[in-house]
């Protein structure tokens, strides 16, 4: 397993000018990213929807790379989205998924069949032309450049250490530095989108 923050630091080296939806990696990414106006740290608007949101953004901005840092809990909840993504086949879409084998934000309860799911196989079976799974930071580091150099859609499952939270939600440290409205406004300004 790897640390999410360490994985994101490696990814940042190859990020280029990609739009990044950091998902549940947001609290680390906010301190790592060097291009915040191309980041879309929305927190968790509604579980299971990040992949569909990223698909919409990738289709709307086909000339920009769109990178999603998804989670296995989200993918399990919205698994049908993989078929839609594969059918739409946006070549600018890079779908990374953190697999900590549990619901970390609710105390670490295991996701269903936590240790026995091959998410890369599921993605490939749904129609993704390329899918990978990495368990160590070294393997990820050795492959990330090639993955981003190839066209999407691509799926990358990453085994990460769980960072379990047991504090009541109201007592947790808020990592977001911008409101969701501000995030969207900054992105649209950065991309020259008039809303």
């Amino acid at each position: 397993m790897m640390q999410t923050a360490e994985m994101l630091k490696v990814f940042q080296q190859y990020r280029g000018d990609a739009i990044v939806i950091p998902g549940r990696g947001g609290r680390h990414w906010v301190n790592i990213s060097t291009c915040p106006n191309r980041d879309v740290p929305l927190g968790d608007p509604a579980m299971g929807g990040h992949a569909s949101f990223a698909l919409g953004l990738a289709l709307a901005q086909p000339d920009k790379k769109v990178v999603l840092i998804d989670s296995e809990g989200d993918v399990l909840m919205g698994m049908g989205a993989l078929a839609t993504i594969a059918e739409q086949a946006p070549t600018n879409f890079y779908h990374f998924m953190l697999d900590n084998e549990c619901y970390a934000t609710t105390g670490g309860q295991p996701v269903p069949n936590a240790k026995n799911i091959a998410y890369d196989v599921i993605a490939r079976g749904a129609g993704y032309p390329r899918a990978y799974a990495f368990e160590t930071l070294e393997d990820f580091s050795n492959n990330i450049k090639a993955i981003l150099d190839e066209p999407g859609p691509v799926f990358v499952a990453l085994k990460v250490d769980p960072e379990i939270e047991n504090e009541p939600i109201g007592r947790r440290r808020r990592w977001q530095t911008r409101t969701r409205d501000q995030v969207i406004q900054d992105l649209q300004q950065e991309l020259g989108i008039r809303r």
Binding site: A46, G49, G56, L57, T84, L191
Partner: protein, 172 residues
């Protein structure tokens, strides 16, 4: 043309409303009323169709499209609308997405007693989320679709169009 056909909501009219309002992407899941419309949309090169497998995905997808500068419409049935509650809340209302939902109003009737619970709870569901809606039953009602688009843009909120024309012109 019979009086019934004249009164019906035609898929051509719905398509025209979409184009008039600049729709770029149709995020949809088939329902019993939309097959003819599907065939028309599929033949139209100006529309990009995105088929989802669960209606909740439609709201997140539409949110991404809208944030990225496009104009999506969501085309689903009332049963799927109710399935989508949390996505509607978080991705559409939570991100202030100006999107029109065209919702097949399964079970709706203005005559007699409504026996289909899909219809019983549709307007209650929309009211619970504070989503305004317009009922469209025939071509004469079609301008209400444009009203919904204008309202969605002005309020930065989802607005619903309830298609109450089941088993008639919308499906031919």
């Amino acid at each position: 043309m019979t009086q019934t056909q004249e009164a019906a909501l035609s898929p051509e009219t719905v398509l025209e409303e979409m184009k008039k309002n600049g729709v770029t992407h149709v995020v949809w899941l088939p329902d019993s009323e939309t097959n003819w419309l599907y065939l028309l949309m599929k033949a139209d090169p100006s529309l990009h169709l995105i088929a989802v497998s669960r209606e909740g995905h439609a709201f997140a997808t539409a949110a991404g499209l809208s944030v990225g500068g496009k104009t999506p419409i969501i085309l689903i049935q009332n049963t799927g609308l109710m399935e989508s509650g949390d996505s509607l809340r978080g991705w559409a209302l939570g991100l202030n997405i100006p999107v029109v939902l065209m919702v097949g109003y399964r079970g709706w009737t203005r005559h007699g007693i409504t026996t289909d619970t899909a219809a019983t709870y549709t307007e209650r569901f929309l009211n619970a989320f504070g989503i305004n809606y317009y009922l469209v039953e025939s071509n004469a009602d079609a301008p209400r679709i444009s009203v919904a688009f204008e309202e969605a843009q002005r309020t930065k909120r989802p607005v619903a169009v309830l298609v109450g024309d089941e088993y008639h012109g919308f499906n031919r």
